[in-house]
Every structure is written in C-alpha cells, then in structure tokens.
C-alpha cells in the first residue's frame, strides 16, 4: 500500500519536474536558432560607441549590486543593533516606521524620486540606482538582522561593557562575529534580489552604457528595429547564467536565507 502510494507520488513529482524544465529548454533552443553558437558570440561582440556593450552591462550589474549590498549591509546591521541592544526614545516608532515601508512598491515613488535624482545631479548614474535599490532592501534586512541579534544574549555585551567595551566595539567584536550565518544569508538573498531587479534600472538608467544585465533583452531583442528572437534568447540565457551558477553553488544558503525572510515576517 505504502509502496504503491510512494510510486504514484514519485511519478507526480517527476512529471512536475519535467514540466518545470520545459520552459528552460525552450528558451535555450530558440537561442541557438539560425546562427547556432554564433548568436552568443554576436551578442558578446555587439558594440556601442566602441564599447563592447554586454561585458559593460555585466560590469554595470556588478557595480550596482556591489554598491547596493555594501550600503544595505552597513546601514541595516547598525540599525538592527540599535533596535536590538540599545535603549533610546522612539525606538519602537522608528522600527515600525522602517518596517512598514516593506509593503510599499518602489515604483510608487517613481515621480518624486525622478525629480529628486535629477535635482541631486545623479541622473543616469550608478549611485542613483544604488541608493534606490538599497532603500528598497533595507527594511527586510533590518528585520532579519534584528531577529538574529535578539537571539544573542545581552549578557555577552554586558560582560564586554564591564571590560570597558564601547557600544561600537561591542557591535564589531561581539555581535558581528556571532552573526556570521545571518550575514551570509542576507548577503546571498540580497545578491539575487538586486542582481535580478528590473524596475529600478528600467526607470533610472537612462542610456545603454549604464544598463544593467536585466535590461539586455530589451536591447538585443531588436536588430535594426526588427524583432530578433535568437539574439534575444541568447542574451536571456547569458543573463541567467550567473544566478544559476550562484544557485547551484549556494542552494542551501539561498533557500535558508529566503525562508528566514518569511519566518520573520
């Protein structure tokens, strides 16, 4: 009985998995249409103003993702430390205020932020994308870090304070080293979210030289104003490769990190 049931379940899971893979195979197949592997070299060889545009987009993506991760990590760990371990007036209000921003879609701030970015002279810069992406990701990062810092007994910090440790040193030498797993979790999730983001680059990167990789399809999809599917899908496969490699290497960490985001909600 159990054996037969398991066999049916096994069959369902396999059929599901095959369905799950079909879209991927379909996309890869189209990317080789007409030119074969040449579609890929074409995409890599495309130049704008004498710059190889795809490698440029890849480096743009790294710059934006790196900058965003740096800002989020620094500001979120510091804030979470204060909310978790320091006492001050308005602690709860600030915390709720920051967290409630999680539900707000970033595109709702499109108009004022366009004006603001222009007024700050940041139009079309990496920094404009970095600042907005960081803002969008800070609330969740604070939530995860605060949950983690809360689980570290305050007695460790008190002991350090007895030895003359300041708040900052307590943060750097007590809290952070004890939070390595949480830091790794937030890092991997941030990398995926920021790397994959489409809306902020769509609105705020004004010329192809500042495009991140997620904008590549809109760029390669048209050749001389005609829809060019093979090159489009070659670029799709190329932008998927970094995250897929990252996913295969870090699957457990990624899954763990993403589930924390849900549990702490």
């Amino acid at each position: 009985m159990t054996k037969r049931r398991n066999r049916i379940i096994q069959l369902c899971l396999t059929i599901g998995a095959v369905i799950w893979i079909i879209p991927v195979i379909a996309a890869i197949r189209v990317s080789f249409k007409n030119g074969g592997f040449k579609n890929y070299t074409d995409v890599f060889d495309t130049k704008i103003n004498n710059i190889l545009i795809l490698p440029k987009m890849i480096s743009n993506s790294f710059a934006v993702t790196g900058g965003t991760i740096f800002i989020v990590m620094v500001s979120a760990t510091l804030a979470a430390y204060a909310f978790s371990k320091l006492k001050f007036k308005g602690r709860k209000i600030f915390f709720v205020l920051l967290l409630s921003c999680y539900a707000i879609p970033m595109l709702c701030t499109l108009i004022p932020n366009s004006l603001l970015i222009k007024a700050l002279g940041l139009r079309g810069s990496y920094l404009s994308m970095i600042l907005l992406l960081a803002t969008a990701n800070i609330p969740l990062a604070i939530l995860i870090f605060k949950g983690n810092f809360d689980s570290i007994p305050s007695s460790y910090l008190e002991a350090a304070r007895m030895d003359g440790c300041t708040d900052l040193k307590g943060f750097l030498y007590v809290i952070l080293p004890m939070s390595k797993p949480a830091i790794v979790n937030v890092l991997v999730v941030l990398f995926i979210q920021v790397w994959n983001d489409f809306q902020i680059p769509l609105v705020f990167s004004t010329n192809p030289e500042k495009y991140t990789l997620t904008l590549a399809p809109t760029f390669f999809g048209l050749t001389q104003n005609r829809l060019d599917l093979p090159h489009l899908y070659a670029s799709i496969v190329i932008i998927a490769i970094p995250v897929v490699v990252f996913y295969i290497l870090m699957q457990d960490k990624i899954v763990e990190g993403m589930s924390i985001g849900g549990l702490k909600e």
């Binding site: 510091l78 909310f83 320091l86 701030t109 004022p112 489409f198 589930s259």
Partner: protein, 300 residues
C-alpha cells in the same frame, strides 16, 4: 549625554535613506495627487482638490487593473499554497532523487522576472511557440490560440508565468514551517493508525498556520507590487486587458506625463498595501511583526 545620542547615530543611515527615498516621496505624492500637473515642472502644478481621485475611480481601465490585481492575488496565492504544500509534503518523503527535484522546483525563484517573462513569451508565441507546436503535434490544432495576443487568454498566460516563478517560494516557506512541527506528533498519529492523508489534513495543514499567514501576506504585497512580467510579456495589452495598477501609474507618468493622476494612483496603491497588510495581520491574529517577536518577550 553621549549615551543618549549614539543610538540615533546607529539608525541614522537607514533612517536617512528610507526617509529621503521612500517617506519623502510618499508625502510629495500625497501633495501632488491633489494637483493638475503635467510633466516634470512642479511649479506649474495647480491645486484641483480630489479631482484626480474622482478621475481614477471613474476610469474603467484603473478599475479593471484593480480587478486584475485582485484576481492575481486570489489565484497566485491559491496555487502557491496548494502546489507548495503538496510538493513540500511529497518531497519530504525523501523518495529517490528528491534533492534533484528540490533543485528543479526552487530554481525559478532565483531567476529574474526578465528571464521568466521572456521564456514564457516564447512558450505562448502563436506561430512557433512551444505550446502551439505541441498542440499541433498531438493533433489538437483546434486548441491553438493567439494566447498573448488574445485578450481572453493573455492574463492567464501571465498568471501561469507568475505561478511558475513563485511556487518554489511556497515550498521554501512550507519546508521551513514543516521543520518546526515536532516529529513526535507524526509518530503518535501513526501509532493511532492515522493514514497519510488524514495526517496531512489533521496535523500538517492546521499546524502550518503561521506559514499560511506568511504566504498570504507576502503574496498580497507581491501582487500589489506586480509589474515586471506584465510589462515584459504584454506591456498591459491587448487593449489594456492585462494592465495592473503599477503599470497604470507607469503609463500615466512615463508615456502620458500626467503626473498628478499618476500620483493619485500611487497613493491609492500605497493605501491598499498598508490596509491589506494590517488587515491580514489583525484578522489572523498574527501580530508577530513590529518587534514583538519571541526573543523580545523573553528579554522583558
């Protein structure tokens, strides 16, 4: 004295960023939503009271966008929960090859919606897309449709892409929830002679309540934030049949430079997001947010 200021310095970077790029824009939106304002120059905006909001609720396109959004919430969350829960329980039996299957089912979660969107665009392509080619080859030519180009099916096509992208997330949440249920419960149920499905309905589903709430909450917020797939696959077409509130906002501002009306749309979306989030947390009695988590209580 020093002691009193330092905590604020710690939260300063986060508060500054969120204050400047999220809270200030919301206040600005609120103000500009009461003005007639075209394009970029706010100096030329004139106060018109709630006229934009009236235009908005009288606009059949915006109402349809809200309906689309609601439909997406119900269906996406339903499928995320049902597919997620069933797959989690099945995978949890740890049958042959379950690790590989997990890898496959989670996989779309890490893909950019750009990749998922274009991939499904190719599946639903009318002439040589995967779906129509398949229907042709199994002799179901009569079932072939324009899919993306047909107002009746375009929304379903986007919905399927959305479900594909996010079902894995359901598994991830349920798997974490399942790990928190003590194994003894299942052993006891087994001794009492409960079958597989009985255990599933009597133990697994009720005890995963917190996970259900999480998925409900994140799914609701996610559908209000829904933009990428619709923008990539149909840009809201054909004839606005697949438009969503954020696409409406984007179109009004970027293409028609009707900034006043777009601001009003932004305020409506923000209000909905806030009301729905609070509503879900209140109705389900789940007040875990706002620093009231278990660690906090222990400390006090």
């Amino acid at each position: 004295m020093k002691k009193r200021i330092t905590p604020y310095l710690y939260i300063l970077p986060a508060v500054l960023l969120v204050g400047i790029f999220l809270i200030y824009p919301i206040i600005f939106n609120l103000l500009s939503s009461f003005t007639k304002w075209k394009g970029f120059n706010f100096g030329k905006a004139e106060f018109v009271g709630i006229k934009n909001y009236i235009t908005l609720i009288k606009d059949p396109v915006f109402l349809r966008d809200l309906r689309n959004c609601l439909l997406f919430m119900v269906l996406t969350i339903f499928f995320q929960m049902s597919i997620g829960l069933i797959l989690t329980v099945f995978l949890n039996l740890k049958l042959f090859g379950y690790r590989l299957m997990e890898t496959i089912y989670f996989f779309p979660v890490v893909l950019s919606s750009v990749v998922v969107g274009y991939t499904f665009l190719q599946i639903f392509e009318p002439n040589f897309g995967t779906l129509n080619t398949f229907l042709q080859s199994v002799g179901l030519e009569g079932w072939k449709r324009m899919w993306i180009g047909d107002a009746k099916y375009a929304l379903i096509a986007i919905l399927i892409a959305n479900i594909y992208q996010w079902s894995g997330m359901g598994i991830i949440y349920y798997r974490a929830g399942l790990a928190n249920i003590s194994k003894e419960l299942y052993d006891a149920a087994k001794i009492d002679g409960a079958g597989f499905w009985q255990t599933f309905f009597r133990i697994t589903i009720p005890l995963l309540k917190n996970t259900h709430v999480t998925i409900l909450l994140l799914g609701t917020i996610g559908c209000l934030k829904f933009f990428d797939l619709a923008y990539i696959m149909t840009s809201g077409g054909p004839a606005n049949s697949t438009e969503f509130p954020l696409l409406y906002l984007y179109r009004k501002f970027m293409r028609e430079s009707n900034s006043g009306l777009a601001s009003a749309a932004a305020i409506v979306i923000i209000l909905l997001a806030t009301i729905l989030s609070i509503g879900i947390l209140k109705v389900t009695g789940n007040d875990r947010e706002a620093g009231e988590n278990k660690y906090d209580k222990k400390k006090k």
